[in-house]
């Protein structure tokens, strides 16, 4: 009798405790993210697929098509092509195809890059029903991004200007000495971060008589 009464009392007490806990949760804020309407910001060192790093001074890719990443890739998913622009000392990238269907996000390419020209992007919404969407030309993306920024009215140097900048002094594309991420030992997330921002690029007067060089065909 005594035992069973005690059992009832402790059982009831545990029920009350449970209900107190749940009502406590009831008044706390939500913990979920309403995905299509809002999404989480990826952390700084999130390792998405790779992307080309933009040189903050010129607005063009840092990459000069040395093809180390292509060689480092264990699954052959990177194809790089470069060409020498008029008056430039080094080659600059003209095509950087990443076949994401084969990529396993191992990061060997980023480690192999000696100039910090590629880094992990923060993109993760990569779902598609079309296989071609995963074969991405990262160079073309970079250029499209720049053109889009231009269309929005932000001042970004055109390729013509870039060439103009590049040729007289040995800076710009070729001026990799100013790039801080030269050493391969730099951790992936620490790749030159301010490079993504397009806004603070130099606002130079355009030179209209300069010919607009189209990306030349891949030299063979």
């Amino acid at each position: 009798m005594k035992n069973s009464l005690k059992e009832i009392a402790t059982g009831f007490n545990s029920l009350i405790t449970g209900m107190r806990i749940t009502i406590g949760q009831f008044f706390k804020p939500n913990v979920t993210v309403q995905y299509p309407h809002e999404s989480l910001k990826m952390p700084e060192r999130f390792r998405g697929h790779i992307e080309l790093v933009r040189n903050p001074e010129t607005g063009k890719a840092v990459c000069f098509a040395c093809k180390l990443c292509e060689r480092a890739c264990p699954s052959d998913c990177i194809t790089v092509d470069g060409a020498k622009l008029d008056g430039a000392k080094k080659k600059s990238v003209t095509q950087y195809v990443l076949d994401f269907t084969k990529c396993s996000l191992c990061g060997s390419c980023v480690e192999a890059c000696r100039d910090g020209a590629i880094r992990y992007s923060h993109e993760y919404n990569l779902a598609s029903t079309n296989k071609e969407d995963y074969i991405m030309d990262l160079f073309k993306r970079l250029e499209d991004e720049r053109l889009a920024a231009e269309a929005r009215g932000e001042i970004v140097p055109t390729p013509a200007q870039l060439v103009a900048q590049v040729s007289p002094p040995a800076s710009g594309i070729v001026g990799q000495a100013s790039s801080p991420a030269g050493s391969p030992g730099v951790p992936p997330g620490a790749a030159p971060t301010p490079a993504t921002t397009l806004k603070p690029l130099q606002a130079e007067a355009p030179k209209p008589d300069q010919p607009q060089p189209t990306p030349p065909a891949a030299p063979k």
């Binding site: 009832i8 949760q25 009831f26 706390k28 939500n30 913990v31 979920t32």
Partner: protein
């Protein structure tokens, strides 16, 4: 028939008044069934710290309408080999007793469709029918899950009918009447006049209320006693073979039963339409006083409904022997004790 003065009775003749109440109760039950689903989902979401339905209308408020439209547009499939008549009758048999019982619930001072002298008896007489409805639904659908679930429901309901009726007998002894309006009238005054706090008649009155509430949860097949449709064990329990509005009516009846149970608990224990702080505006007889009474009734009833949701999202489903143990080993002895205690107390001190 009791000759109480009915709300609205001066405005309309008797048949019109009845039709008014009939339409009122039907729409009230329909709306409540729909929006209690919304409350349930929102409540569940809040307890789990997520927002719940948000897409259809503001805060998902149109979600029940979308659900209803979906259910109504679906076919009620009658599987081959089932007893088609019983299969079709079962949902209606589940729904109609609740609607009948709601007719005697006094929503406010003289706001009741029918103020029967045997109102309490009528509710429990009709309340037993929906057990049979689930049994018929499960049995006629010729499905093993449905039959197992129906058998569970019957044994569960039989087990919990006993403590519930013992508690109700206690309440009838305490109040001396089966007329629900009368029971509420006796609890007039501030909240310590409510039956749940009348400890000078029976020191175990709050316990009596808890037993009633627990039995109500079990009778309406709510979690943690939801053996009838133990989703994780028995597909959808007795409703496995039902589709379209057959299922919809079962679902509505379930929520209507919860509503009835909470309304009854409000009437029996929480003072029905009586305000917890006494009458501030009017004397409770004027139209405004009656409306305030209805307001208090709804506040109490929906608090209980919220508690039902709260309990559901706090406790996991009991095992079947745990459920029967709770009834036979705890609830029935305790309710017998309260019955004997209150009869002794009434005999000795309150005659």
């Amino acid at each position: 028939m009791q000759a109480t003065q009915h709300f609205l009775s001066g405005l309309w003749p008797e048949p019109l008044r009845l039709i008014l109440f009939l339409v009122g109760i039907l729409s009230f039950v329909g709306l409540n069934a729909a929006y209690l689903v919304w409350v349930e989902r929102k409540g569940a979401a809040r307890f789990q710290r997520r927002p719940g339905p948000t897409e259809v209308g503001y805060a998902g408020l149109l979600q029940p309408i979308a659900d209803a439209a979906k259910l109504m547009s679906k076919q009620l499939i009658v599987p081959a080999g089932v007893d088609a008549t019983l299969f079709r009758i079962a949902p209606l048999l589940m729904m109609s007793p609740v609607l009948m019982s709601l007719a005697v619930i006094p929503w406010g001072q003289s706001v009741a469709a029918r103020s029967l002298n045997v109102g309490l008896l009528m509710i429990f007489a009709f309340g037993s029918i929906n057990v049979m409805a689930i049994m018929l639904g499960g049995w006629s659908s010729r499905n093993k899950y449905a039959i197992i679930s129906a058998a569970r429901v019957v044994s569960q309901n039989v087990a919990y009918e006993i403590p519930m009726l013992l508690v109700v007998i206690t309440m009838i002894m305490v109040t001396g009447t089966m007329n629900l309006s009368e029971i509420v009238t006796q609890q007039a005054g501030a909240f310590w006049h409510w039956n749940i706090f009348r400890v000078w008649i029976n020191p175990l009155m709050p316990v009596t209320f808890l037993i009633f509430f627990t039995c109500m949860l079990a009778e309406t097949n709510r979690a943690p006693f939801d053996m009838a449709e133990a989703e994780s064990e028995l597909v959808a329990g007795a409703y496995t073979e039902y589709s379209g509005m057959g299922f919809g009516v079962f679902f509505m009846a379930e929520y209507a039963n919860i509503l009835l149970g909470c309304a009854l608990a409000t009437v029996l224990f929480l003072g029905g339409w009586q305000s917890p702080i006494g009458h501030l505006l009017g004397d409770g007889q004027s139209t405004l006083g009656i409306l305030i009474g209805v307001f208090w009734f709804f506040v109490k009833m929906y608090f209980l409904v919220f508690s039902v949701v709260w309990i559901r999202w706090t406790f996991p489903r009991t095992q079947f022997y745990g459920l029967l143990n709770l009834s036979w080993k705890i609830l029935i002895p305790v309710s017998l004790v309260t019955l004997i205690l209150s009869s002794v107390m009434i005999k000795l001190f309150h005659q």
